[in-house]
């Protein structure tokens, strides 16, 4: 078994959520937009800021809103000397649990002071509003020391604006993704214009692309097997609707293809064909990009196109050896291009 390099790449995962807020969270965010802070009374009369929808002890639905102060006391805190990229500030700051005047339950937010020594449990802090509040928790830009000057605009400028009912809550997470050992080996071969699967030592099925195991037997696969770039069509679908961010214009065909020498299908595109004439059992072959453009990706193969070989009977699909259809008598050709 050849040792190949570990393939990895950076990628960002994005969930562009918009959340509906409901009446309780919405009321709080509406107040923030208007530079006010409201809490809610729990079953035992304790004031929760930010407001909770249900009492955490009794599960009672809560509805009695209370306006609270814009300053309060630090109950606990930590010092972030090296902020993370996702953090709201890019220089050192504190996270703190802050009990606002008139509240009983502390809230978590950030405090900006110059250095850690300026932080102290029990210290008084006040809200620093964002320049343009929009109905979001970050309308509170941070808290600052109560006595500090703050370039704060007038509060509650337009209380008649609409109630906040939704908020944007996008999540972007960065990853350094590493392909598995089997995938790395496979893509290394694809870069050389070869399709190399792995054979199960137990049931002898050849998987392509390999994942390092036989899903049926639950055993590791190691033996590498080169398969042909001629395939049999196991199934297909014609896509008529455009998919966002997909550069391919519909209609186009996505097919399950089983290469000669393999037993399990993979998915790729079909082209250079009459869509209406495509059928299961049809023989197709890879159309490769020019060799100079080959990289570690399955789109080294632009698409598959039909070839002039007799159809494979359904019961024979997935059982063709790498050398090609046995009884057909057609010469086995190398790949084109």
């Amino acid at each position: 078994m050849s040792q190949s390099e570990i393939l990895s790449q950076e990628f960002e995962l994005g969930f562009t959520y918009t959340r509906s807020t409901g009446p309780v969270v919405g009321r709080f965010l509406t107040a923030l937009r208007d530079r006010n802070i409201v809490g809610i009374k729990g079953s035992d009369g304790a004031v929760y800021v930010p407001p909770m929808e249900y009492d955490p002890n009794t599960a009672e639905e809560l509805s009695e809103f209370v306006e609270v102060g814009q300053a309060g006391e630090v109950v606990s805190w930590c010092w972030v000397s090296e902020p993370r990229e996702s953090h709201p500030h890019d220089t050192a700051f504190a996270w703190a649990m802050i009990k606002l005047d008139g509240a009983d339950i502390p809230m978590v937010h950030s405090v900006r002071v110059e250095r850690e020594a300026d932080m102290k449990t029990g210290m008084r802090v006040k809200v620093q509003w964002a320049d343009e509040p929009r109905g979001h928790i970050t309308d509170i830009a941070c808290f600052v020391v109560e006595g500090a000057e703050s370039p704060l605009g007038a509060a509650g400028m337009n209380a008649k604006r609409e109630m906040i009912t939704g908020m944007e809550a996008p999540i972007y997470l960065k990853y350094h993704f590493t392909a598995g050992a089997a995938t790395s080996r496979f893509l290394g071969k694809v870069r050389q214009g070869k399709l190399v699967g792995q054979r199960c030592p137990s049931c002898n099925n050849v998987y392509i692309p390999p994942r390092g195991s036989c899903a049926a037997c639950g055993v590791a696969t190691e033996e590498e097997v080169e398969v042909a770039d001629k395939c049999t069509l196991e199934s297909f679908t014609i896509v008529y609707i455009p998919i966002p961010n997909n550069p391919i214009q519909p209609p186009y065909i996505i097919a399950n293809l089983i290469p000669d020498g393999a037993n399990i299908s993979f998915i790729h595109l079909l082209s250079e064909c009459v869509n209406e004439e495509i059928h299961i059992g049809q023989r197709v072959q890879a159309v490769w990009k020019p060799e100079a453009e080959w990289t570690y990706a399955m789109d080294n193969i632009k698409y598959f196109k039909p070839i002039d070989e007799p159809d494979v009977p359904i019961e024979q699909i997935g059982k063709i050896p790498a050398a090609g259809v046995p009884a057909a008598g057609a010469p086995v050709t190398g790949r084109e291009g």
């Binding site: 010092w79 649990m97 978590v108 449990t121 928790i137 392909a179």
Partner: protein, 353 residues
């Protein structure tokens, strides 16, 4: 009620970066070991399979489905998954056996945290209106919890350092899979700079990749297989509110409740494996479980020696079971946690047969 036995347990090494190994490649060896120890081949040989993992860790959607490729799931098997630590997958499997729907089960968990930035990823398990958008990370929340305790005089930095010293020492002596181990002094630890003050880096569990697996069954099956086992005498889990300000962060009420419900105090606790990702949390948990001086806490070093997110809870149970099976003790307690500042806790009582 049917007694349930743990008959085998296997864990991979905890490593900072499993590199090229994908989910299947991480899981397959531990599953093979756990099944093999009982003479089983693959998931066809048990009645039920349940796993725990979280796709956000490696950022690969439906990674847990790919994990099934490690099982041998043809013909189809009865299988389930929790987007939680695999300790909760064990809980589901126990319910399945107690309801009479299975006699045996394979439970496994895996975590590949290295591709992402784990503390930031974990911020997205917070409430999505008030805390998620601020990206308050898991280390910062634990740091505020530690300061509450320090301010109230419930712990000292010396206490926290001693937890770390013991973790590294135990890991060195007893845990071939540990990521962090060795002899360190409290003085040298306390001389280190603070990281997310008041926490120092060593107060926080490392980020680890790896997997763990376990086979459980009813006693009849264990006898039929002719293998030694530990009995799960009690298991219970409780959760607290997501509102951190509304919790008493200096104690773990949910652990206290779970411990009472599963009978921790009904006998001597010789060893306890606690899922404390931060040093001060081991002190909270020791108290919540009512452990005395005679209990050996975290003989494996605990998760400060290696933290397989979504698998280390099951490991805690496996570590205790393994020591009972080996005859090192007769009764032990294992704890698993989930969520910020010990929000959700599961307690298991294990006894010798």
């Amino acid at each position: 009620m049917r007694d349930i036995a743990i008959v085998s347990y296997a864990q991979s090494d905890c490593v900072r970066d499993a590199g090229a190994r994908n989910e299947v490649e991480l899981i397959m060896p531990v599953i093979k070991n756990a099944l093999g120890a009982v003479g089983l081949n693959n998931a066809q040989d048990v009645d039920f399979t349940c796993s725990g993992s979280c796709d956000y860790q490696q950022g690969a959607a439906f990674a847990f489905v790919l994990g099934v490729d490690a099982l041998g799931a043809v013909p189809p098997i009865k299988e389930s998954h929790v987007e939680m630590d695999a300790a909760w997958a064990l809980y589901e499997a126990i319910l399945k056996i107690r309801m009479g729907h299975a006699d045996s089960a394979l439970v496994y968990g895996f975590g590949k945290s290295s591709p992402g930035e784990l503390p930031a990823v974990l911020s997205q398990q917070l409430d999505p209106y008030y805390l998620g958008p601020l990206w308050v990370d898991s280390v910062s929340l634990a740091a505020m919890q530690a300061r509450l305790m320090l301010d109230q005089g419930l712990i000292s930095e010396q206490d926290m350092a001693e937890v770390v010293v013991r973790s590294r020492r135990n890991a060195m002596a007893n845990n071939p899979h540990a990521q962090l181990k060795g002899e360190v002094s409290t003085e040298s630890l306390l001389a280190q700079d603070r990281w997310v003050s008041p926490l120092r880096k060593h107060d926080c569990a490392p980020v680890s990749d790896g997997a763990t697996a376990m086979v459980i069954c009813d006693l009849e099956k264990a006898h039929a297989w002719g293998v030694p086992y530990a009995i799960i005498r009690g298991i219970d889990h409780r959760m607290e509110t997501h509102n951190l300000g509304a919790r008493d962060l200096t104690r773990s009420r949910s652990t206290e409740q779970a411990a009472a419900a599963c009978g921790v105090a009904n006998g001597e606790v010789e060893i306890a494996e606690l899922y404390a990702p931060f040093s001060h949390q081991e002190i909270i948990l020791t108290k919540a479980l009512g452990l005395s001086e005679t209990t050996t806490v975290n003989p494996s070093g605990g998760v400060l020696a290696g933290n397989l997110m979504m698998a280390s809870g099951l490991s805690r149970i496996g570590e205790v079971a393994q020591r009972i099976i080996a005859g090192e003790c007769k009764r032990g307690v294992a704890h698993a946690t989930s969520g910020p500042c010990l929000q959700h806790n599961l307690v298991t009582v294990l006894e010798a047969a």
